[in-house]
Symmetry: C2
Subunit: 664 residues, 2 copies
């Protein structure tokens, strides 16, 4: 081991948080957020130390600095704001501060009645050194102060200015950092558009948007749905792939191995003679129609999300032009997708290890850039977990360098570490296991894991109670109340959530067969025509829930989620609040779609900014009802049909006799 | 972001443990240990993957490999042995194994009754590729197998050998690792001598070893104590500094500011005209005497530990020769040690930030090397937390490169993170807060923290119930039973422990004043003469406890410590056991030195290798008593005078009628 120059840097910096995989991956924030950085910072001996967070947007050459404050046990915390899209860097610097040591010691010496004249002289030297690093008025003040200290040193008795708080503050601005320790890593923050944190998604098949039954819907038809979608309060409109659909091995209705004439095929079977991933399916319309839809949606405050599924049918132009991008079987044919013993002859997976990888990867990235050029700012990526992680990291990083406002939603329902990895390599939002988490225990455990582990720093959950692929058992069995319950859970547990509509609001719940999670007559393989004005529709309920989300800041972030105890396992209660309990919203859900449930909820009042001894008014934002509560325990009774959910805000102040002006 | 070659490496490796501060620091083991490495290893998609731990002693150029096995949830574990002193490196490598994928898929295809002839051909290619990487007999067998597969591919029907386990095993030895992912860091293990893990220390002032009262003891006198120390079963003899003691500002008895004539001064006031850190105090003897003592001790199985305190009196040769190694006050004098308002004018601390740092550091390191040259293999370092961490890291690493069997004990009683840092930078063992942990809750909490956090990988506790500086309140108040209790706790909670004797075995417990932890008539400032054969002496008890330690492997490591419940807060119960409960020892201690305590102990039998339904014999190794117990709960009654402690081993098998040979 060699004797390096850093050997004189006595401060140690450890345990910096947040830090993902030793700084290998970035944490995520949105514009307007702050980043709280903590670290263990300490030195040998008893010297005073100081430390700062250094941070900068990657476009800035110079570090900015934020003071860190001591939390005790050698832990320090500093905070910095992120206001610009893109990447920030941050690190920590700490140093032994001899002035601080001097000042602390001096206080003890004075308290012990010691003669401090020689110490005043030592202080004068330190203040003069600080003056040498200062400029302007500060410099003058420091020099004056040093002179006072020198006078004290020469005087008969000490006097007060040596410990002057304000002057100490001036000195602290000009520390001697020659022997400062810089934390070895520059950590990264990806700063996304606000929609990455807070979004309500609505998935619709545009081909089912036609006004007339039996007709293939178009992108223009889809535009006609915008008022309906906006009325319900969604702000992301997500379309399954809109590309030409292959004909070879096309699947028929209900996933039949052979398509009948007229069967439209699955939108995820991408590529035909009309084109591939950069083309629009002719029956949906043109690129111009698409751009028109994007703009029209935006005028409703709705952002378009496009589904990108990196796979090809045998008819895709890539197959002809770049057979080397696909794996071969021993007989020389291209390998179709398999999950043995299942075979998907209509799909060719892409070989991410291809020898011609560079060209392949560039082409795949260019698909996203093509659609970015058409105005798309959100991509929902199909099955990203079956494509190489390094590809995603490279592609997403590259695309975001050009378009830092672009978001990517990872549609991965797979093993926990694979899902986390996709979030780490760059996906802005992630599908979750919420789809299958129904009981109080399941929900509590899962959401505590998402919020109380490092996952919170980089994985943003997007909760889907259904998708075109997944009609969960709970919805199959529980009827309309189940749809109310699951929507309320998704919309309040998650700052981001989405539904596959109109199947959702119309409570479609017939599976292909018992034990299956597939929809009967799945829209993946056929065109639908529905009555959006059905009396069954949940559209009013959804509109109300989305309005509550927009009016309550606490529901726009996943940060402040906390579960409160209930004495009935079929009642779940949780709150979302900002720092210090501000703007708290409490949600109580009857998880039983069949029966009225009653029970006691025990609220942790301190998380809600409430006091134990004072009554408060609970206002149900869904029903408008108001309840007078006091203390931690409150009784609720909830019917699955009429009140499956309370979304409560509290008015802390209830009027009392003291409000009369003649009181007293 | 550029498109790098690693982009084809699809396997991700995360969460490698153990790993200290992202690999910045080494973990610690002793020769004969194994290192268990865990990691999350996974790839996109459904391919089979394999992974291995790579490891090597730093003296070896080539990696060795250990297979990792899947633990579920993408977690893998591998184990490697460390048999040679010094440093090992380890890392993890994982790769997509196409043969594994092929074989898994084939099994499913066959189960589904599919035609697998084309798959047999694909398998033949993979086996031929493996053969290309193999040699000798393996190569021949693989080629034969490939031929069989090719025949199958051409045949009418599949047959069994395609899934042959043994051949799969041969293939697995020759994987295609061209696209393997290597974990980015090479982590380090420091492998120490076994004594780093298991040691019993005895601290004695050699100047108090004289046979005649009133005489200054010598190193030769100290040799006369070896039989006594060996009888008690200690294997490390630790001497306070043996260097010339300064005269300027020498402290008198009871730390008086002025010494009286004849006062010997503190051994930690190092340096006089007779020499400094590389000299022996003339009244103790010569360097030759010291070497003789080292050898004599070794003949008793006792290793010498020398105290190194890097500080100087004003009389130390360094002060004259290298005034630049010390801080100056503004008046140009050298700064003495202070902890304001306290002043230690007899001590000059060393300035580790000195401009002449290189020369200073080399000289300080050479102190250790000097004593290593005299046969010392263990250093107890005084107050390392007041010296720069980078110095320790550089010095210890350098010394251990030359002498990998040298051990360093950190005498730091300071804040938790500073203590941990000293262990990280290289100290082999550490003083702990055990000295002040007395209640069941304190002990449980503290030892669980030491064992169940990352600390266990690098901080080896050495437990001291007393030191020349610290006579804890518990010993002051609790009389002889307190000494029994604290010794038993130290010796069984810690694989390494030590006492400051003979103050300990003679139960000296008078503080300098009420509320002080200093000894009255502290041996730090005067020479003692004691009666080692006092009837008060705990020497027999200590000898018994140390014998039990030597006879019970579980007590020789801190690994298997576990606390068991008791229903009396004054009774603490814990076990130490090897893997799977082997060689379990259960310790029950009455923490109350004043009263008999009774209560129920609830043993977690599965940790002790015991079964619920079978009676077992509990054998108290201390008293020799035997108890017949059954089930989890057992009653104990413990008197502070006669049975403050049980150290139990269990005989699982109790004789029954079935042991008669005429049974049945």
């Amino acid at each position: 081991m060699t004797l390096t120059e850093e050997g004189r840097n006595r401060v140690a910096i450890e345990g910096v948080r947040p830090e993902i995989d030793c700084g290998r991956f970035a944490i995520k924030r949105v514009t307007g957020d702050v980043v709280e950085v903590e670290a263990d910072v300490f030195a040998d001996g008893h010297d005073g130390i100081r430390c700062r967070v250094l941070y900068r947007h990657e476009s800035e050459p110079e570090w900015r600095e934020a003071l860190m404050e001591a939390l005790g046990n050698d832990r320090w915390r500093g905070v910095f704001p992120v206001s610009v899209l893109g990447r920030y860097r941050y690190t920590v610097e700490g140093w032994v501060d001899r002035f601080l040591t001097w000042r602390g010691d001096l206080r003890k010496r004075i308290a012990a009645g010691q003669d401090v004249r020689v110490e005043a002289l030592a202080g004068a030297e330190l203040v003069e050194e600080a003056a040498g690093r200062a400029e302007g008025a500060d410099r003058d003040r420091l020099m004056e102060w040093a002179a006072i200290l020198r006078a004290e040193a020469a005087a008969e008795e000490r006097n007060a200015p040596a410990l002057d708080e304000e002057l100490a503050e001036v000195v602290s601005r000009y520390p001697d950092r020659r022997l400062a320790t810089r934390y070895g890593k520059e950590l990264a923050v990806v700063v996304d558009a606000e929609r990455a944190r807070f979004s309500a998604w609505y998935e619709v098949f545009p081909r089912s948007c036609a006004r007339e039954a039996g007709k293939h819907g178009t992108l223009r038809d889809c535009e006609g749905w915008l008022p309906y979608i906006a009325y319900m309060g969604f702000d992301v409109l997500y379309l399954p792939p809109i590309h030409p659909i292959g004909r070879t091995f096309r699947k028929g209705r209900n996933n039949a191995v052979t398509a009948e004439p007229g069967d439209p095929g699955s939108p995820w079977a991408i590529g035909a003679e009309e084109g591939g991933h950069k083309s629009v399916h002719p029956e949906l319309g043109t690129l111009e129609d698409f751009r028109h839809l994007v703009e029209a949606a935006r005028s409703y405050g709705i952002e378009m999300a496009l589904d990108i599924a990196l796979q090809c049918t045998p008819d895709h132009p890539y197959v002809r032009e770049h057979p080397e991008w696909f794996r071969k079987r021993v007989d020389g044919t291209i390998r179709y997708a398999e999950n043995p013993p299942k075979k998907y002859q209509d799909i060719y997976p892409i070989d991410f290890e291809s020898e011609n990888r560079e060209e392949l990867w560039e082409e795949l990235k260019s698909i996203f850039l093509f659609w970015t050029g058409q105005g798309v700012r959100i991509f929902r990526v199909d099955n990203p977990h079956t494509k190489a992680f390094p590809f995603w990291e490279w592609a997403i990083t590259g695309i975001k360098e050009q378009y830092p406002d672009v978001l990517f939603l990872s549609e991965a329902f797979t093993r926990p570490k694979v899902m986390a990895r996709l979030a780490k390599v760059g996906f802005s939002q992630s599908y979750t296991y919420f789809t299958w988490r129904n009981t109080k225990e399941e929900l509590t455990q899962y959401f505590e894991q998402l919020r109380e582990t490092e996952l919170r720093e980089y994985l943003r959950p997007n909760l889907w109670p259904n998708t075109p692929d997944i009609l969960p058992e709970f919805l199959q069995a529980g009827g309309r109340p189940a749809f109310l319950i699951r929507l309320a859970l998704a919309a309040t547990l998650g700052a981001s959530y989405g539904i596959y509509g109109p199947a959702y609001e119309l409570c479609e719940n017939t599976p292909r067969e018992a034990g299956s999670e597939e929809y009967l007559h799945s829209e993946k393989y056929e065109i639908k025509q529905r009555d959006l004005n059905s009396e069954w529709s949940l559209k009013e309920f959804i509109a109300r829930v989305n309005r509550i989300r927009k009016e309550n800041a606490a529901l726009q972030s996943d940060e402040g989620l906390h579960f409160h105890a209930t004495d009935n396992p079929l009642l779940v209660c949780y709150s979302k609040a900002r720092r210090g309990g501000a703007d708290a919203v409490v949600v109580v859900v009857n998880l039983d779609p069949f029966h009225t449930q009653r029970g006691w909820v025990t609220l942790e009042l301190e998380r809600l900014g409430l006091e134990e001894g004072v009554p408060f008014q609970a206002h149900d934002l869904l029903s408008g009802a108001r309840y007078l509560w006091q203390g931690r325990r409150s009784f609720v009774e909830m019917s699955p049909e009429s009140t499956p959910v309370h979304i409560l805000r509290f008015r802390k102040r209830v009027r009392t006799e003291k409000d009369f002006d003649y009181y007293l």
